[in-house]
């Protein structure tokens, strides 16, 4: 079912949806597309798709998913992002600046100017990786370690709640474990051991290890 009201004024429709990302069902899978414009009395929608480029979609012939991604970690280009919703009046629809907040809590000292200086250039994989925010696909612990140790990622989401990052401390080279927005301990990849500093989250980590059938030991740092 189309979420677009074709009887709505095209200007209002564009105001609500333009530059927002929603998911479109193509080949049995929902894939994110960026809404650009409404044409032919709102019956056709000009969208951008990561693989197909600019495409024209007949609004009523496809299945749309306007659900926003759940709160939590997901993997994206260069590392992992955390996404959460805003509770403001969301007159704009889909995933956009008004409805969602994406950030990297591992580096909350990162400033806009720093981001610009980093010059993280846009590339096609950015777009693809955003779909992970919906899908909840995460990298396993085994896959995460070489990515981090090889400096191919700064942080890796291994579940919606848990992420691993490189250590910001010079005296410790272990990987930092985050639970949601809180660093809670270390992962020693050589010994395959989790060292918990913030013991309030022991049960959460224990559950994660058990559910994923991991062999690593958990101990208090």
């Amino acid at each position: 079912m189309s979420p677009f009201d074709i009887n709505e004024d095209p200007k209002d429709l564009k105001k609500k949806w333009a530059n927002a990302m929603i998911r479109l069902k193509l080949d049995n899978d929902f894939e994110p597309v960026l809404i650009k414009d409404f044409l032919d009395n709102n019956l056709s929608i000009k969208c951008c798709h990561s693989k197909h480029g600019t495409i024209l979609i007949e609004a009523n012939k496809y299945e749309w998913d306007v659900t926003l991604p759940e709160r939590g970690w997901f993997n994206s280009v260069g590392g992992a992002h955390f996404c959460c919703h805003y509770s403001i009046r969301q007159w704009q629809k889909g995933v956009c600046n008004m409805t969602m907040h994406f950030f990297r809590p591992t580096i909350n000292w990162r400033t806009p100017s720093f981001m610009l200086q980093l010059g993280a250039k846009p590339n096609i994989s950015n777009f693809d990786n955003v779909s992970d925010a919906w899908e909840g696909r995460h990298i396993t612990l085994d896959q995460a370690v070489p990515l981090l140790r090889g400096y191919r990622k700064l942080e890796v989401a291994i579940s919606r709640e848990i992420a691993l990052t490189l250590s910001p401390l010079s005296e410790c080279n272990l990987l930092v474990i985050w639970y949601d927005l809180t660093p809670i301990g270390w992962y020693d990849d050589k010994k395959d051991q989790i060292l918990i500093n913030n013991t309030a989250f022991h049960q959460e980590l224990f559950d994660f290890v058990k559910r994923n059938k991991l062999s690593c030991l958990i101990s208090t740092a």
């Binding site: 530059n19 960026l34 056709s44 951008c48 798709h49 197909h52 480029g53 600019t54 495409i55 024209l56 926003l68 759940e70 994206s76 260069g78 992002h81 955390f82 805003y86 509770s87 009046r89 969301q90 956009c96 600046n97 969602m100 907040h101 994406f102 950030f103 990297r104 809590p105 580096i107 909350n108 000292w109 990162r110 400033t111 806009p112 100017s113 720093f114 200086q117 010059g119 993280a120 590339n123 096609i124 950015n126 777009f127 400096y151 700064l154 709640e161 490189l166 910001p168 401390l169 639970y179 927005l181 660093p183 809670i184 913030n198 309030a200 989250f201 022991h202 959460e204 559950d207 740092a221």
Partner: protein, 380 residues
């Protein structure tokens, strides 16, 4: 993270007593007769028997119907978000015992009312007498029980943009800070949160200061049983916030995911009203529903030096993180980079990251995406 140790046990909110002229007494007495309550309980300011204010949005109302208050109990207002003659019906502040009659009167007054996805029911509950620590407790209890409240309100409301739950946002810390300081701690708090605490603190813009917390979860309805059940759950939550000691709750939360004593805590909060939830969730679902919320609460209230140090420290020279940054973004390190410490008031303050991510989507598509398929000529 907040420090609750120094929290003074003083009520911070207005204890305003509404003073009425004697001329209004006849109206109150008339209302009291209709609702079968003592007239002194209308607009009552009783800390142990708080008043509630209900807002019900309905559509399909006869456009020629009068805009006069219904029975002196329900005020009618226009609401721009509604269609087909939509109106919002708002009660005067009433104690729980008066609500059933009030709902029945409204239902008989607007039999043509229809409730669509645009309609909702908002319940304001009086928090004027609560101390700061009680209000912090109220918010924490709510944060723990939110999934149950959304189970009652239904899946559609859970994903609604006009009652966004703590489950999805980062608002919990800011709500706790606000309750802790007795004033709004962040511009991020907005009235469209499922639990809207702004009416207790601010007046202006889109919000009026009522001295209430507003629960926005429920769908539009005039089903008296649903409405009474919903109001009783909210009332129980408020009563529990007064009865339960904050430090006990924090300690309890620390081990709640370990001993899985969810149902014991819920019984303590909702008492005999707890059974209302069993129509919507199974007792076996409690761990799945609540454990993430318990963890969220722990993040907000349990202090830990390690967590603070790691999240606030700039990456040190020779640290793995800085090496990773230099390896991944070598061009950026050719010029001098200034790292600024995080804003202590804003734990997750990187608006720029969304801007960047969004920029990357748009730019990717505009500048670098190949125009591989153009199904029709129009698409060019």
């Amino acid at each position: 993270m907040l420090n609750f140790d120094s929290l003074a046990d003083d009520p911070i909110l207005h204890k305003d007593r509404v003073l009425f002229s004697p001329s209004i007494q006849p109206l109150f007495k008339k209302i009291a007769t209709l609702l079968d309550i003592p007239w002194t309980s209308i607009y009552a300011n009783d800390p142990l028997n708080p008043t509630l204010g209900i807002e019900i949005e309905a559509e399909n109302i006869d456009p020629d119907a009068s805009w006069e208050p219904l029975h002196g109990i329900w005020i009618q207002k226009e609401d721009g978000s509604l269609r087909k003659g939509g109106r919002e019906y708002i009660t005067i502040p009433l104690q729980f015992s008066a609500l059933l009659k009030a709902f029945q009167l409204l239902a008989t007054s607007i039999p043509e009312a229809k409730f669509t996805h645009r309609c909702s029911t908002h319940v304001h509950i009086d928090v004027r007498h609560m101390t700061r620590s009680q209000m912090v407790t109220f918010i924490l209890l709510y944060a723990l029980c939110e999934p149950l409240l959304f189970a009652f309100a239904g899946k559609f409301r859970r994903h609604n943009n006009f009652c966004v739950g703590i489950e999805y946002t980062n608002d919990l810390n800011e709500m706790l800070l606000t309750a802790h300081h007795g004033r709004i701690a962040s511009d991020n708090l907005q009235k469209y949160a499922a639990l809207n605490i702004l009416p207790a603190y601010v007046s202006g813009q889109d919000v009026t200061r009522y001295g209430t917390f507003e629960f926005r979860h429920l769908f539009g309805t005039l089903n008296a049983i649903t409405l009474m059940d919903w109001c009783s759950l909210i009332l129980r939550l408020r009563m529990a916030a007064i009865e339960i000691d904050l430090s006990w709750l924090i300690q309890k939360t620390r081990y709640l995911n370990v001993d899985s004593s969810y149902s014991i805590l819920l019984e303590k909060i909702f008492k005999d009203s707890l059974s209302i939830f069993w129509n919507y969730v199974s007792i076996n679902d409690l761990p799945r529903l609540l454990e993430k919320h318990v963890s969220r609460v722990k993040q907000s209230v349990l202090h830990h030096e390690f967590s603070r140090k790691l999240s606030d420290t700039l990456p040190e020279e020779n640290s793995q993180y800085l090496k990773g940054l230099k390896r991944m973004y070598p061009h950026a390190f050719k010029s001098k980079i200034t790292l600024l410490p995080p804003d202590p008031l804003c734990v997750t303050s990187t608006e720029a990251d969304l801007a960047l991510l969004h920029y990357t989507w748009s730019s990717t598509l505009i500048e670098t995406a190949p125009l591989a398929q153009e199904p029709t000529e129009d698409s060019t």
